[in-house]
């Protein structure tokens, strides 16, 4: 029996790697004053049909539940966020700075960096329409990668503005009903032959290509860039108007983070969605918002490609599971005393393991080493003393049984 295609089993090492990523994400988000929240994995399908756009709806894991409700596994978090904020915004000071690490689901073809589920850090700043909020959000996206040790030679933020394009479409007298389709064509232009894009754009091809070839200027984006410059982060960013983003609800600044080598899918992406909360609100709550999502799969690949970054993370991974103490039961007659100490050491917060059944002393020491124990305590002929050994230095010392807790604690704290 296998997991379903596109779904992962996280064996302990994989889980520790994932947890180390989550822990770093949480640290950086909190350093920005963001607080964690969480929404349901399952939502009414209409939440996505209304808001996410046709690409996402085609890839939903959706079904009818036993109460005849149309429901879907969340493909993304933003519609849930807008729903929750619309319902509860009065309870919070503005702006809201919220993050979440949901698992999201899309039924799509598996390929490198894309499974049918992934975990996705979402960071959103809600209730502020200023460029300062955009700067804060882009800076956070950058610092999330810097925290792993990535530099400006590893990745770049490509920064764009969807409003720049809607302004152009308006100037060219394109009816609003066609905007969404044309934005999709521009979004895909980088990955398609120019003739094909030209055909789809028709008379718009000339003004659009002029911009894509570097002829567009956006004061809004230059302001944003200056804000990042003040924080010393301008080197991580380039203005690139070819970025439009696939989701239907973006209204202004949009951006994507890519590896500089250009080998992977986007590491993260986001933008401004000033109308989504009001669209999901009964009470016509209007709250401008800006946010982004960063998945664990592409980031995980990028980490694994860089040995120095993997090995830094490996320390955090090892800290999760390494043992403090292993109890070596050399004489079964002493097992009772070992069990008493076991409970006391664990109660004191130490990580302690021991052999469930009688085993050779040599094998017990092997297990202690394999589990990363820092000290062993041996229960044998020395009783009422216990032989304490530091595995790193091989130092051994006899400890009287009534001093054991204090002496082991001291050895582990030093």
């Amino acid at each position: 029996m296998q997991p379903l295609p596109g779904f992962r089993d996280f064996l302990p090492d994989d889980c520790a790697f994932r947890n180390a990523i989550f822990a770093r994400w949480r640290e950086v988000c909190r350093s920005y004053g963001f607080v964690e929240w969480e929404g349901p994995v399952l939502e009414p399908t209409k939440l996505y049909k209304k808001k996410s756009g046709p690409e996402i709806v085609a890839q939903l894991f959706n079904f009818t539940d036993k109460g005849d409700r149309e429901v879907a596994l969340r493909p993304e978090l933003t519609p849930t966020l807008a729903r929750v904020v619309a319902a509860h915004e009065r309870e919070f000071r503005k702006p809201l700075k919220w993050f979440c690490i949901p698992q999201c689901f899309r039924y799509e073809k598996q390929q490198r960096g894309r499974l049918r589920e992934h975990f996705q850090l979402n960071c959103d700043l809600i209730g502020d329409a200023s460029a300062a909020a955009d700067v804060e959000i882009v800076a956070l996206a950058i610092d999330l990668l810097r925290a792993f040790g990535f530099t400006a030679t590893d990745f770049v933020v490509r920064l764009s503005d969807r409003e720049f394009w809607t302004d152009l479409l308006r100037r060219e007298n394109v009816p609003e009903a066609r905007w969404s389709e044309l934005l999709q064509v521009i979004d895909k232009s980088e990955r398609e032959p120019r003739e094909k894009t030209a055909e789809r754009l028709g008379p718009l091809a000339e003004p659009v290509f002029k911009v894509l070839d570097g002829g567009g200027r956006s004061e809004k984006l230059e302001t944003l860039l200056r804000g990042l410059e003040l924080r010393g982060l301008a080197g991580f960013v380039q203005i690139d108007l070819s970025i439009v983003r696939g989701l239907a609800y973006y209204t202004g600044v949009v951006f994507e983070l890519f590896d500089r080598a250009g080998e992977l899918r986007a590491i993260a992406g986001g933008g401004r969605y000033d109308n989504l909360v009001s669209q999901l609100s009964d009470a016509a709550v209007s709250l401008p918002a800006v946010g982004f999502a960063m998945g664990d799969v592409v980031l995980g690949e990028l980490i694994k490609e860089k040995p120095e970054i993997s090995s830094r993370l490996a320390e955090a991974v090892n800290r999760q599971s390494a043992l403090d103490v292993y109890l070596v039961v050399a004489k079964e007659e002493r097992r009772q005393e070992a069990m008493r100490h076991l409970q006391q050491l664990r109660d004191a917060g130490w990580r302690v393991d021991y052999p469930l059944e009688a085993a050779r002393v040599g094998k017990q020491f092997q297990t202690a080493e394999a589990m990363g124990a820092r000290i062993t305590l041996l229960y044998g002929d020395e009783w009422p003393a216990v032989k304490m050994k530091k595995l790193a230095t091989r130092e051994e010392v006899l400890v009287p049984n009534d001093e054991l807790l204090a002496r082991a604690g001291a050895a582990l704290s030093s």
Copy 2:
């Protein structure tokens, strides 16, 4: 728009409460030498149809995916664990001590302590059939609650043995095909009128009631109790043969944790399932196993009922979101310098926030207080010095701008 019935939105305070429970669970599991793993939320439906028993299958969130596969949101973790262990057991030293905090789903009537989703700590010890493994697992369940501050006056482990009952059924010459149905009747006997149970048991009523009224003795359970006694945990346990557990795959010792007041549903439950791994293995891997699950909903209610335990947890909750530093921009001309320090302080790992836009100084201090900041740094007329204030003591000091990082760090570390 609301979440689906039985599903929760976790606003930041709810999420912090949940995270504080998870953090304590992880700590205690690691103190027992358990390592974390994780399986998929979605699994082939047949995994549960085969293994979990009819009650669970009737409550599945199941559907046909876009590739025509019968799939289900996991109602429990154990079948996934058995699948993963059967496939990977050669990679690990025995016994495996694994824990996981999956979200699980059941379509059932909502009631106190029961939603349609919950998070559920699962702890399993695999590859050891001894009573020592049972002791270790029951002790872990107890210590998980002790870690929150609960005592033997708050909860009790009711300990039973399914084998005791199958032995009795065998002695009474009951055909094996009827065992599962009769075990269900015994499991439910506590919650139903005795006449109804008697009717269902038929000629078995007399021997069964004799046991339920205290006439049964189990040497296996008495050994288990002695093992817990050595650890000082016997006061948390009572032998109670009326516990049988609803799941189909249990084979030996079973147990449930209840609040002593008897007001809530079971806080946790588990037992031995020695045949499940081999049933899910192609290569006929046979691994005895014992484990349990503890949900977040009932435990959350129990915590909220005890003010001294809630308030201990509240400290952990506050630590998650409290800010270190709030930057007060008293003069907008100084915002640039504030932004430079912002980045430096965050890079140093501190949690720092600031006003995105111009605001009155008094309002900025209010925000700093509300966000739990420990110090404020004020950028105003004093520049090139910054006014640093400890909010707890109201002490203020002027700090030259080039010493700021070191001085703020010292103030925060003291």
